[in-house]
Symmetry: C2
Amino acid sequence: MNAADFSLDPRLAADTHAVADLPLSRLLLMDDARYGWLILVPRRAGLRELSDLPRAEQHRLLEEIEIARTALGALGPYDKLNLGALGNIVEQLHVHVIARRRDDAAWPGPVWGHGARVALDPETLAERLRRLRGALPP
Amino acid sequence: MNAADFSLDPRLAADTHAVADLPLSRLLLMDDARYGWLILVPRRAGLRELSDLPRAEQHRLLEEIEIARTALGALGPYDKLNLGALGNIVEQLHVHVIARRRDDAAWPGPVWGHGARVALDPETLAERLRRLRGALPP
C-alpha cells in the first residue's frame, strides 16, 4: 500500500476535477453545481475502510478535512458541513466534505443519490477551482 | 463546552438506546432492526461541527470510531462500514457508524432518509446490547 501504486478510481475521476494533491490526499471537486462538494482520496493503493489507514495517517486525514472545510468557505457561506465515508458504490476510500445550505436541492437529506448531478459550466468551474486553490495552505 | 453541561439531543434519545459511555462519547444503538447502526455523541455541550472539537478530542473520536467498528463486528458479518457526520436535522455533533450489507434495505444508497425505521423487538434489542457491550474494551 504505497503512493506509487495509487490510481484514482475511474468513477471518481469521471465525476470530479482535481483541485490539488495535499500531503496525504488528492483533493477533488465534485462536478455538481448544486453543492460545494469536495472529496479527499488518500493516495495509497488498496484502501477501502478508514481503518485500513495507519493511525498517523488518519490524523493527517483529519488535518486535510480541516483544509477542505476552510477551502469550501471560499466558495461562499453555508449552513452545515456534511462529512461522509460510504464507499458502497466506489470502494476506494474517499471522504466527502460537503457545504450544505438550507436552500440546497437535497436539504435536509443527504446529497448522495439525490437527483441527477448538474455539471458545472466552464466559467463556474474555473472560478471554483481558483477560489479553492487560493484557500489552500502554501 | 464541558461534560457537565452535556445533554443528549431529545431526537437522538428518542431513536436510540444507550450502549455505554466511552471516555469521550456516548455510544448509542439506533433502534432500527434493518441495520447495525451505532452513533457516537461526544459528551461536550455546544458542539455542532467536527471542527468544534479540539484536535486531541478529534483524535480520541477516531479511537472511538474504531471501538464502534469492532463492536459492530460482534453483531455479525457486514460488507462495508459507512461513516457520516451530517447534522442537518439534529445539530448536536454525532457520528454515524453503520454496518452495511449488500442485501440491506437501502444498499447501495445511504441509510439516512431511506424508508421508515423498524423498531427492534425487546429480545433482539437485549441481544444486540449484550453483544455490543461484550465487545467494548474493559
